[in-house]
Amino acid sequence: MNFLAFGVAGWICLVGFYGAIVSKNLIHLALCLTVIQSSTYVLLLSIGYRKHGTAPIFKGVKLGTTAVDPVVQSLTLTDIVISVTVIALILALALDAHKKSGTIDPDQLADFHG
């Protein structure tokens, strides 16, 4: 269990990068980016987890109860918002590219060489 959580986070990052590198389609690539980003969620939340810890919400719980780290959760929340917005922006760019050149294959989009 010790290494499972962090190992999964690392694996998600690597596999996401692989998918993005060989991607044939900008939309596919954008989804691979969300996969890479999800590795950061898993990593952050696994870091802040505590055995026997409750969620850091103290309604109806007596003060001093062990709770998991609230800061990583706050970072993850910010992270999720960033993820959605960046993906929306990349998709908008992809749509625009499609309008201009009729393709969203990144290999065919390339117009600049050297």
């Binding site: 269990m1 596999v15 044939k24 939309i27 026997h52 850091p56 929340l77 749509l95 969203i104 294959d105």
Partner: protein, 91 residues
């Protein structure tokens, strides 16, 4: 929830998440990929719940059920409607 049930639950969801991520990243068909990524998002929601992060789980839930599918599906539909199918081969 006692640790004896929580730990195996966390472990199995983590494994599922790892498989889910692999499936999303390696799937070549964009339509199937968006479906998979919806499932993957829900798996992440489950993971966040068992990692005691209900706020994050709630965020992920609203994002993965509404925001992503909507914008990605439109993007797929739009690029296909354009006539050029660069994304259709399922290799």
């Amino acid at each position: 929830m006692p640790l004896a049930t929580l730990v195996p639950l966390q472990a199995s969801i983590l494994v599922l998440v790892a498989f889910g991520a692999t499936a999303v990243a390696l799937c070549r068909n964009t339509l199937r990929q968006i479906l998979l990524s919806g499932v993957y998002g829900l798996l992440l929601v489950l993971l966040f719940v068992v990692l005691q992060a209900p706020d994050v789980a709630l965020s992920m839930l609203v994002v993965t059920t509404v925001a992503y599918p909507l914008i990605v599906l439109v993007a797929i539909a739009r690029t296909r409607a354009g006539g050029v199918d660069a994304d259709d081969d399922d290799s």
